[in-house]
Amino acid sequence: MANASVEIERPDRWDHPLSAEMSAGVVQQLLASPPFSLMDAERFNRNAPLADILQNDTRLHRLSAGDVIFREGQYGGSAYLVLDGNIRIFLTQFIPGARPRRKWTGKALLDWWNAKRQKAKANAKSIDASDRRANRRSNSGQDERHAATAEVGYRGEGKETRMYLQDVPGVIRDNTTSQVTPGEMFGELAAISRAPREFTAVAECDCVLLEIRWQGLKLLRQDHAFKELLDERYRGELLANQLRETAQFRFISDDSMEEIVKAAKFESFGNMEWYADYRKKANKPSSEQIEEEPLIAEEGSFAVGLWIVRGGFARQSRRQGAGHRTLAYLSKGSVFGLEELAHNYRNGSESPPIPYQESLRAIGYVDAICIPKATVDCHVLPYIRRSDLPKVIEQPRYQFGQPVVDASLTQTTADVETGLLEFLVEKRLINGQRAMAIDLDRCTRCDDCVRACASTHGGTPVFERRGMQYGKWMFAQACMHCEDPVCMIGCPTGAIHRDSESGLVAINESTCIGCKGCAESCPYDNIRMVAATDGKGRAKVEQSTGLPILQATKCDFCATAASGPACQSACPHDALFRFDLSDGDEVARKMGGRAA
């Protein structure tokens, strides 16, 4: 029956608490201990009192020694508070995690075979622990951070299966670690910034943790002191670890690194909830939009330091006529200002220093680290290998006291047409990690992609073959599984979440309450609200009003299908593909030279 429906009560925020085990007694105990005992309960909203937040948005974990809480590179939306026992934070990569998909080329096969042979030889020799350590250091070659793989095991069953380290003291001895003690919090940085975990956390002994999901963390930030504590930790922690990840800092001595960490400044630009501003500014002319972007470093100004993008996206641009021309977009780990500083360092006092040749602006929201010029000159540039140094600036556009040399419009960014680059940045499409692009020069509009999507999702397609167009490229309205999924910010139940392993943004149908928060905050309109149905296909309607219950739906990248997204494999003309727009190299490979 087409109009059959089933009446239910409107779903509510805490219909599905994080854990059913959080009894009133446990909550009272938590309220009596810091940091919750220090919070002003009166400051919390009446609809979401502190006790309810703890009851519904937190859960207890009782861990045994060696249990892995999360691994570096995983996505996670929770912070952890240590209630009892100690936790070890590993700043080195030592557990086999998600690896990039291997391409079985001839060279890759040879590498694999050699690695296997070396491993077999190493096992045969049964070297002792100290030799193994020494071997590890020498094998790791350029990057000492990647220590040898630790032995791991698994305990528990089903959803409760946990990975654990078999030799905790040994692994702690072999790796760079820091300790988290009772009363301290960890993991909140990844939860707040929607970024992958930057370290691995392991229980050092039997311990008890309180997991606070992002939705609860956001509500707890209503307490002023707690918010300040989080912000301070967010800005101040893990700097050395971040710097070590940057290619140019690989060979810096420990002493110099200490100096760099002392001198480095952690700065944030723009608004973390940038989607609201984006919608407002979307109809303004491009030049105005760029002018309004928070300026990180301006062309023509003195090169005061080296900027390293820590999170978000930044636009590298230069003045062109009356506007600004985008040259590239920088994402996590990218460096700005090194060319100018290296140029000035090389020339010393022989010639006057040159200013920044380009500008750096925050697209939406950017976390960046600035290392002052003096520190760069003393502790960074002397350690950078010649091959890592940027090319000499032969003809600087900006020189102090001299007229600005106007740049030609020739293409400077590798293989990507400037117009396409401007388009991707202006529309913030660079955020998409699995964007859907359709080559309109090949697409016959047969809609086989839509049909394949529908047949995979119970008869209803979860994307639309329409969307923004640039030249022959159409960026269809399919969830892009963004690097910075702003749709997750407002979800009160955590129904829209990120898969910890794959990084795909998914919606949990059972916990979605149809509040439209995600659909309204998606800057690309890629989330739609549809009438919710029960298992028999009957529409769910609200008991009191008779209105349909809505639910958010979007592309799930066919996460359960082994062959990948159905839309891509169903295209008979190779016109549709999913790819990472946040990766400039991939954009150049897929779209370079054939933009319009």
Partner: protein, 273 residues
């Protein structure tokens, strides 16, 4: 050479080699006083079954095996091979009503297949050259909206004090244009003849109009262009769909006729009692 060029070259060489081997097999059967038609017929039957692979892959709910694009490539080259073998298989003239029907259906399916191959490469480029890509099913609704706007502009033009010059032209020339769908001939060969003619006639009216009339004339000209763009998109997409429908619909007739043909062959060879 690009990877696409390399792929095409390899596929073409393989297809030609397969055709040469089949030709050699037929020739060998002939000089050894065998039955060359059986050799070519068996090859053609195998190729025809292979051609149904694309349809099967498209219909499979599970995404089994390679992407559809790969199957499409196989379909194209296997289809070319089947055409060559078909020429080896049939004699000339074709005798018998049943054989003539079978040959006709095969030729029709092959011809629509070739046309589809050509259209599926040329049509997307022509569609992409237009300002905005519209979804096929939404085009009629957009055309109705444009016609409504044009009607309003024409009615308002009578208020300008310039008489009914524009309104009369609208009623005589533009109303049928906005109200009617384009002919099947336009669908087959979309062109800009009518668009240019109407715009020229509209332009000729400008000497009789004042400033407000000129504005209305500009709006009507814009509506003519928009309608024509939508007609053009509709015709290009519809043409592709009609050819596809023709190709697929007779495919099933071909399958039945081939099955009967094979049964008859076995029957007359004495294999099938």
């Amino acid at each position: 050479m690009s990877s696409l060029g390399k792929r095409r070259l390899i596929a073409s060489v393989v297809t030609l080699a397969a055709a040469a081997v089949s030709g050699y097999g037929v020739w060998l059967a002939e000089i050894r006083l065998g039955d060359p038609a059986t050799v070519s017929g068996a090859t053609l039957l195998a190729a025809t079954i292979g051609l149904f692979g694309l349809s099967a892959r498209k219909r499979s709910k599970r995404q089994i095996g390679r992407p559809v694009a790969v199957w499409m490539q196989v379909h194209v080259y296997l289809g070319s091979f089947a055409c060559v073998v078909f020429l080896m298989h049939i004699g000339w003239p074709v005798y018998g009503v049943f054989e003539q029907c079978l040959a006709f259906v095969f030729v029709f399916v092959s011809a629509t297949g070739v046309a589809l191959g050509f259209l599926s490469r040329s049509t997307p480029k022509r569609l992409a050259a237009l300002t905005k890509d519209q979804v096929f099913e939404e085009i009629p609704a957009l055309q109705i909206a444009i016609a409504g706007n044009a009607h309003t502009v024409a009615l308002e033009s009578t208020q300008h004090g310039e008489g009914a010059t524009l309104a009369e032209f609208y009623q005589r020339r533009l109303l049928p244009y906005f109200r009617s769908r384009r002919s099947w001939a336009y669908c087959l060969v979309p062109n800009g003849i009518l668009r240019r003619q109407l715009l020229r006639e509209l332009n000729d009216l400008s000497r009789y109009l004042g400033v407000p009339g000129q504005v209305s004339l500009g709006q009507l000209a814009q509506a003519v262009r928009q309608k024509d763009d939508l007609d053009y998109q509709y015709a290009l997409q519809a043409r592709l769909q009609y050819f596809y429908a023709a190709h697929v619909s007779l495919t099933w007739s071909l399958a039945i006729l081939v099955a009967v043909h094979v049964a008859l062959v076995f029957r007359f060879q004495g294999t099938l009692q």
